[in-house]
Symmetry: C2
Subunit: 124 residues, 2 copies
């Protein structure tokens, strides 16, 4: 279970956990039925409170990615990956929209944006 908490990120800890677990489910690193680390174990390894890991798992449960059972643990549910892909698509679209707004305000052309995009998309 590779999860990295960045203090420099503006995203709250519980959200960083949520998005990274989602990404691992999407990539197949976590499959249906797999057990997640216990809230305590994850909290300990990340050196954060159990309550924060619980909050992350609650969010994942609310969104239908996992299920938790008292005394047993938390497990990955069956995923409709096409739905998740569309969610990412929406998020990418929103970010692109914001980028375009800034570009307009700064007088940056569509061509410049396309060039930037190629550099960034390829360079990862």
């Amino acid at each position: 279970m590779d999860i990295i908490i960045s203090n420099s990120s503006d995203a709250p800890i519980y959200e960083q956990i949520v998005s990274q677990i989602k990404a691992q489910i999407m990539s197949g690193a976590l499959a249906e039925g797999d057990a997640l680390p216990s809230m305590r174990a994850l909290a300990q390894s990340l050196r954060i409170s159990i309550i924060t890991t619980k909050r992350a798992y609650e969010e994942l449960e609310r969104e239908g990615f996992i299920e938790s059972y008292t005394g047993k643990g938390s497990f990955v549910k069956h995923q409709n990956k096409e739905l998740v892909r569309e969610e990412y698509m929406k998020q990418a679209e929103q970010l692109l929209t914001q980028a375009c707004e800034k570009a307009h305000m700064g007088g940056i052309s569509a061509r410049e944006l396309h060039e930037l995009l190629d550099i960034i998309y390829g360079g990862e």
Copy 2:
């Protein structure tokens, strides 16, 4: 002075004011030496607290865009527009990077992103 506060936006009110005034300075709608609306007048027209407009003006002052004088008002300072343009460029780049991350996670191709970008950039 056209400023629009969106409740659906996740950005705080004072930041919405800051970015819109910045944009108006960049576009030339506000020129060096121009008087901004008084904190009270702006607060009244936006139906928000004076303290919030004050906070926005403080931020603009801190970033060197305006100057405020007790009893007189707030005024636009001289701007180095090239510097501001570069700031927008940086922000656009950051947003593009985030968009590319989401695209990768969702298996969205560079071609799809380029198409999206054209639609969004043109369609504003």
